[in-house]
Amino acid sequence: MTETLVPVFAALGDETRWSILRELGQTDASASALAGRLPVTRQAIAKHLAVLQEVGLVEPVRVGREVRFRVVGAELSAVARRLEAVGAEWDRRLAAIKEIAESL
């Protein structure tokens, strides 16, 4: 069995979860703190955080009596690198196609 990115992509297919990731990209935060910054209830934030945690995009960190969430970057950066590499391959192929078509 090979791991695939399906669960990560599924988790990312939601505007609110992107907002949460952007906020957490600035600084670690608790569900309550996120609810104060985003137009979403604390309960909804908690559900979204659970989805993100499930696929390994965030992890809880206990700070005193508070549980804050922190983003885990490896999966996302892997996605970005993969797409970047695919794009670079197409740049090369398109340049070759251009050369061929223009010389026909």
Partner: protein, 159 residues
Amino acid sequence: MSMTINPGAVVDESGFSVTRSIRIAAPVENVWAAVTEPEHVSRWFGRLELDGREATASGSLSWPDGTRIPIRIEAIDPLRSVSYRWGNDDALADAPAELDESSSTVFTFTLTAVDGGTELTVLETGFEATSDPVYNLESHRTGWNEELDKLVALVESEA
């Protein structure tokens, strides 16, 4: 390693895709030949062998090093667009002999006549299903903020 922003990567409901466009100073007919005729495809991609020229025609792409990848025409609209499905899963050590719907991607060329030539756009979709060695192997976490910024810029650049 520095990471450049991929201007063509987009996120949508079905997953991630990569798209690129290029202007070619040649008529649509020539560009069409370059992206569909096996003798030309072999020059920019790999040796293309197909059992037909219509949708569902299947065959393989192969390279001198012995790599062979299954490929199929998904749709074809002469001089306008052509879609190929291929087993583009770099993470697998050995390419599968048969096309696996769940782990292959589809790339579509769209040709548009423009002043002075042709605009050729390629869109490749389906990456959410392919395996990824980096994803599998990377367990360390570093430089998160920078990476998130880059990814957000990347997915929003064409949103």
